[in-house]
C-alpha cells in the first residue's frame, strides 16, 4: 500500500513537472503544424505521433495537461466551497433555511444548462484569447457544478448535527462558527475532499463537451478535454492506440489522487 502511495506521489509530481515544464520538455510548440506529417504514427521526432493537422501530440498533451490541471482543480475548489457553504448551512440550520437552499440546489439541477451556456457563449466577445476562453469555461463549470455536491454535504451535516458528540459540544456551550469550525468541518472533510476529487475529471470531460458548443478551450490551445474529444470518432480509433494516451493520463492522475485521498480518509 505504501509503495502504491509513493507511486501515486511520484506520478503526480512527474505529471506536474511535465505539464508546467512543457515549454522546455515538449518537442515542439503546441500550435506548430508539421504539414508534411499529418496524423503520423509515433517516431523519434514525435514520440506520440502527430494529430490530423500535423501538430505534435506529446506537446499538445503536455500543454493540455497544464491547462486542465491548473483550471479544473480551481473550478473544483470553487464548486466544493459553494457546496460546503450552502450544503453546510442547510444541514446545520434545517427548517426553512434547508428548504430554501435545497430548493436552490434542485433548481440548479433542473435547469437545462447546456442551452443557457450557448447563450453565455453568444454573450462573450469573439476576440477573447484562448487562455481567457479556458478560464471563463472553467469558472462557469465551477459556478454551476455545486448543486449535487451540496445535497451530499447537507445530508452529512444533518447527520452530524444529530450525533452525540455535537449534542455534547452544544451542551458544553459550542455554537455558531466555533461549532462549525471545530466539530462540523473536520468531520465533513472526507465528504468535501471526495466531492472535490470527483469534480476534477467531471469538469475536464465537461469542458470537452462544451467544446462542441464552441464554449471550451479555443484553438490552437489544447486541453485534456479537447484531446479527449478526438476520441469521439470510434471508427478512427481501432488501429491507433497512441490516441488513447490522453485518457490514460487522465485515469492515472485521477487514480493517483484517489489513492492519496484514501490515505487522508484513513487518517481522519
Amino acid at each position: 500500500m505504501k509503495a502504491l502511495r509513493i507511486a501515486a506521489v511520484v506520478l503526480l509530481l512527474a505529471t506536474g513537472v511535465a505539464a508546467f515544464g512543457a515549454r522546455w520538455i515538449a518537442p515542439a510548440g503546441y500550435e506548430q503544424q508539421f504539414r508534411d506529417e499529418p496524423a503520423a504514427a509515433p517516431s523519434a521526432h514525435h514520440p506520440l505521433g502527430t494529430d490530423e493537422l500535423g501538430r505534435d501530440r506529446l506537446a499538445r498533451l503536455l500543454y493540455g495537461m497544464r491547462v486542465s490541471l491548473a483550471l479544473a482543480p480551481l473550478a473544483a475548489l470553487l464548486t466544493t466551497s459553494l457546496a460546503a457553504l450552502l450544503g453546510g448551512v442547510a444541514g446545520c440550520f434545517g427548517g426553512w433555511t434547508e428548504r430554501s437552499c435545497m430548493f436552490l440546489a434542485d433548481f440548479f439541477l433542473s435547469v437545462p444548462w447546456l442551452f443557457l451556456l450557448i447563450t453565455v457563449r453568444a454573450a462573450l466577445p469573439l476576440n477573447i484569447s484562448p487562455e481567457a476562453s479556458a478560464a471563463v469555461t472553467f469558472l462557469l463549470l465551477g459556478l454551476l457544478g455545486w448543486a449535487a455536491s451540496a445535497r451530499v454535504v447537507c445530508a452529512g451535516a444533518k447527520n452530524l448535527m444529530r450525533s452525540d458528540f455535537v449534542w455534547n459540544a452544544r451542551a458544553a456551550g459550542f455554537a455558531g462558527f466555533k461549532l462549525v469550525r471545530l466539530h462540523l468541518l473536520p468531520n465533513l472533510r472526507g465528504t468535501l475532499l471526495a466531492q472535490f476529487w470527483i469534480s476534477i475529471p467531471v469538469f475536464i470531460i465537461a469542458e470537452a463537451n462544451l467544446g462542441a458548443l464552441g464554449l471550451g478551450v479555443s484553438e490552437p490551445l489544447p486541453s485534456l478535454g479537447s484531446l479527449l474529444r478526438e476520441m469521439q470518432n470510434m471508427v478512427m480509433l481501432r488501429p491507433e492506440p497512441w490516441r488513447f494516451v490522453p485518457i490514460l493520463v487522465l485515469v492515472l492522475i485521477v487514480t493517483s489522487f484517489q489513492v492519496l485521498l484514501r490515505k487522508q480518509e484513513v487518517r481522519i
Partner: protein, 534 residues
C-alpha cells in the same frame, strides 16, 4: 457430375445482368427525422430524400450527364420567352393506391405548390415576378403552365416537383415514384415498399425498381452510421467524411468511392455590413479588396485540401467548380499561395509588418475572429490552419466555433461577427439557384445582405449580370453573363473560396449498378436500378 452442374448454374447466374438479382431490402440511414411527408413542403434533407424516393416528377435531371430527361412528361416545350412551359404526359399511369394520373394532378400540384400559405422553397424557385401562376389543362395528357415573368432554367426546376394526386383519398401519400411509404416509426425508421404501379421498365422489359423495399433508419451520429456500415447492417452512406473514407478505404477499398469534385463550396467572408457592431478601422480593412486578396493569397488551399480532406478536395477557384461542366468559367485560374505577394498588396494599402505583427495605417494591430459552426471537424480544422497561415503575414486570428443557431443569428440578424467560415451546398447547377446570394438585395448576400442599392460599383455590375442571365433564354448568352459574374467575384473576392471537396460515398459491394454522382442524392440517385446481390 452433380457438382459440375451446380458450378455451371452458378457461372450462368454470375454472368446475368444485375436485373436478375432483384428483390431484397436496401437499407441506409437518414441523419434526421423527415419534417414532412408532403413532397411539396419538403425543405430539409430527410424530407427531400423521401420525396426523391417516392415522388414522381415530370422531368428528372440526370445526375451523371447533368441534363434533363423525360419522366412523367414525355416531352416539353418552353415558349413565350420563358413564361410558358407545355408538357405532354405519359398515358395510363397510376399512383401507388391505384388512382389514375392525369394533367389535372399537375394543375393541382402547381396550385398547391404556389399557395403562399405552404411556404414552399420549391415553389419559391418559380416565383419570377408579381402575379399568379396559371395552368391550362388541354387534355388528360397535355397541360401548359404560365408564369407572370420569364423563369430561366424552367424545365430543370420540375426535377424537385413531385406530382401529387388531386383525387386520391391518400392525398400526398399516394406515390408516383418507385416506392411508397409503407411504415413509419417516428425516430426509428421509415419503410418504403415497391410501388406496384410504377411505370418504368429496364431494357429487357423487367419492371423497376429491382429492390422490394428501402428501409431508412434515423441515425444522427455519423460515426455510428459508419460502424453500422462496417458491420454490414446498412448498404450505403450517401456522404462520408474524408477521415471515415480513408479508414474504410484502408480496410477494403471496395467499400468506398470518390465520385469526383462536388459542386459544394467552402469559403470565408468578411463582414462588410455598414453599421455592424465592429470597429470602423476593421470595417475599412474588410471593405478593402486588396486586404481580402492578400488574405486569400496567404491561405495555402492545397494544404487544406491535402490535410483536412485527405486529398479528397481541390483548391477552389471561384463560385463555380470545374465539375459544373457547363457553367464553369474555364478562363479563371486558382489564386496562388504567395505570402510575399500578399504582403506587397498589404504594404501598398498602407499596412506594415512590425516585429511580426501586421499593423494598419493608424497603427492598429491586425486581428480578427473567424466564426464557424461548432462540431464540424473539417471547418474547425480549416480555421486552425488558416490561423497558422495568416500568422505568417502577421495577422492574429481567433477561431470561434459557435452552435449553428447562434452563428446564423450573428450572420443574418445582429451582424455581430468579423469573418465567417461556412459552405454552400449547391444541389442545382444553374446560376438562377444562387440569385439571392449574388444580388446585392439578396438575403444570402452574406457579406452585406439586403442592400437597398449596391454598395460598390462591382456589386452593381454583378446585379446587372445576374438579372441579365435570369431574363435571357439563350444559354450561351446566360453563360456569358455568369462568366462575367465569376470573373468579378474572382477579382474582388467577397467570398474567399477555399476548397471544393470531393463527393465521398460508401456503397457496399453487394449493391449492384451503383453509379455515384456529384449531385444529390449522390449514392442512390438511380435508386430504381440498384439491385442487391444475394
Amino acid at each position: 457430375m452433380k457438382r459440375l452442374a451446380v458450378w455451371c448454374v452458378a457461372l450462368v447466374l454470375s454472368g446475368l445482368p444485375a436485373a436478375a438479382q432483384s428483390g431484397g431490402e436496401l437499407r441506409f440511414c437518414l441523419r434526421s427525422e423527415p419534417k414532412t411527408f408532403n413532397p411539396l413542403a419538403a425543405d430539409d434533407d430527410a424530407s427531400g430524400a423521401v420525396r426523391y424516393l417516392t415522388g414522381g416528377v415530370l422531368v428528372r435531371v440526370n445526375r451523371i450527364t447533368q441534363k434533363a430527361q423525360p419522366e412523367l412528361a414525355t416531352e416539353w416545350k418552353v415558349s413565350e420567352s420563358g413564361k410558358r412551359i407545355s408538357f405532354k404526359l405519359r398515358d395510363g399511369l397510376r399512383y401507388s393506391d391505384g388512382t389514375p394520373f392525369s394533367a389535372d394532378d399537375v394543375a393541382y400540384t402547381m396550385q398547391q405548390l404556389m399557395d403562399p400559405a405552404l411556404h414552399s422553397s420549391t415553389g419559391d424557385a418559380f416565383r419570377s415576378g408579381e402575379g399568379a401562376v396559371s395552368t391550362r389543362v388541354i387534355s388528360p395528357t397535355a397541360i401548359e403552365i404560365n408564369f407572370p415573368a420569364p423563369v430561366a432554367n424552367l424545365a430543370n426546376l420540375f426535377d424537385t416537383v413531385a406530382i401529387v394526386s388531386s383525387k386520391s383519398p391518400l392525398k400526398e401519400m399516394a406515390a408516383l415514384g418507385p416506392f411508397y411509404v409503407a411504415e413509419h416509426k417516428p425516430g426509428s425508421y421509415i419503410l418504403l415498399k415497391r410501388n406496384p404501379g410504377y411505370w418504368k421498365k429496364d431494357a429487357s422489359g423487367r419492371p423497376l425498381p429491382y429492390v422490394d423495399a428501402v428501409r431508412l433508419d434515423i441515425e444522427q451520429n455519423p460515426d455510428i452510421e459508419a460502424l453500422r456500415y462496417r458491420r454490414g447492417e446498412i448498404h450505403l452512406i450517401n456522404t462520408v467524411s474524408p477521415a471515415v473514407f480513408e479508414k474504410l478505404s484502408e480496410e477494403n477499398a471496395a467499400l468506398v468511392r470518390d465520385a469526383g469534385t462536388s459542386t459544394d463550396t467552402e469559403q470565408i467572408w468578411f463582414n462588410q455590413v455598414p453599421g455592424a457592431p465592429i470597429p470602423a478601422y476593421k470595417q475599412a480593412w474588410f471593405s478593402s479588396t486588396a486586404f481580402r486578396r492578400a488574405v486569400s493569397e496567404a491561405i495555402n488551399r492545397n494544404d487544406l485540401a491535402r490535410i483536412v480532406y485527405h486529398g479528397h478536395a481541390t483548391a477552389a477557384i471561384g463560385i463555380v467548380p470545374a465539375s459544373n461542366k457547363f457553367w464553369f468559367n474555364s478562363e479563371l485560374k486558382p489564386h496562388p499561395y504567395d505570402t510575399g505577394s500578399a504582403l506587397r498588396r498589404l504594404q501598398q494599402e498602407g499596412f506594415r509588418l512590425d516585429n511580426g505583427t501586421l499593423r494598419d495605417k493608424t497603427g492598429n494591430a491586425v486581428e480578427f475572429s473567424i466564426i464557424t459552426n461548432a462540431g464540424s471537424r473539417t471547418r474547425e480544422s480549416m480555421a486552425a490552419m488558416i490561423q497558422e497561415d495568416l500568422k505568417k503575414i502577421g495577422i492574429k486570428v481567433n477561431v470561434v466555433p459557435l452552435d449553428f443557431n447562434s452563428l446564423l443569428e450573428r450572420i443574418n440578424q445582429t451582424h455581430d461577427y468579423e469573418a465567417c467560415l461556412l459552405g454552400f451546398v449547391n444541389g442545382d447547377l444553374d446560376p438562377n439557384s444562387v440569385m439571392t446570394v449574388w444580388l446585392s438585395s439578396g438575403d444570402e448576400h452574406a457579406w452585406n445582405p439586403k442592400q437597398k442599392s449596391p454598395a460598390t460599383a462591382w456589386e452593381a455590375e454583378i446585379d446587372k449580370m445576374m438579372r441579365g442571365q435570369a431574363s435571357a433564354l439563350d444559354e450561351r448568352k446566360r453563360k456569358e453573363y455568369w462568366d462575367k459574374v465569376q470573373r468579378i467575384a474572382w477579382e474582388h473576392e467577397p467570398f474567399i473560396f477555399l476548397v471544393n471537396k470531393d463527393t465521398l460515398v460508401a456503397i457496399s459491394p453487394s449493391v449492384k449498378n451503383a453509379q455515384p454522382s456529384i449531385l444529390p442524392p449522390q449514392a442512390y440517385w438511380n435508386i430504381e436500378e440498384l439491385a442487391l446481390a444475394h
